[in-house]
């Protein structure tokens, strides 16, 4: 399992507006906060 200090696995997913989003598009430009949640329409 990946943990602190290790490279974050890249991903290629679409967002709710159909925009393609990869982790690598932020490399060298932005720090990224990833917020994982269980289900939409719930308390988290």
């Amino acid at each position: 399992m990946v943990d602190v200090g290790q490279p974050a696995p890249d991903f290629d997913l679409i967002d709710h507006n159909k925009r393609q989003t990869t982790l690598s598009q932020f490399k060298g430009r932005k720090n990224v906060v990833l917020s994982f949640f269980v289900f939409a329409f719930t308390d988290g």
Binding site: A8, T21, A40, F41
Partner: protein, 111 residues
């Protein structure tokens, strides 16, 4: 800031619409629906029993290195006037502190 769940994209779109006017939701919500949970699994945050993500925050620095990773739980309780309130064991201050630490380090290093 990106949100991620194993919900389908239309579900995420409907969710943002339920919270306000079209296209105004400020955070991209990424759908890891098919193949189900592949990205979430790669971060070790997939709940095999429920088929969903765990609740977690991961901070990745500009170099692509994980600097913070924490799972958390929430409890929905009745607030003072009976409305639902979410209690959590993740302190938002911890996340802000880590982001500030990374930004300070980055500023120092690049001058």
């Amino acid at each position: 800031m990106l949100g991620i769940s194993a919900d389908s994209r239309p579900t995420l779109a409907a969710y943002t619409l339920s919270l306000g006017p079209s296209l105004s939701y400020p955070i991209p919500l990424l759908s890891d629906f098919h193949p189900h949970g592949r990205m979430i699994r790669s971060y070790g945050l997939y709940n095999e029993e429920k088929g969903t993500s765990l609740r977690a925050v991961v901070i990745v620095d500009k170099e692509g290195i994980i600097r913070f990773k924490r799972t958390y739980t929430t409890v929905l309780k009745a607030g003072p006037t009976g409305q639902g309130e979410v209690e959590t064991d993740l302190d938002p201050a911890d996340i802000l502190a880590e982001v500030e630490k990374i930004q300070r380090f980055s500023t120092t290093r690049t001058g």
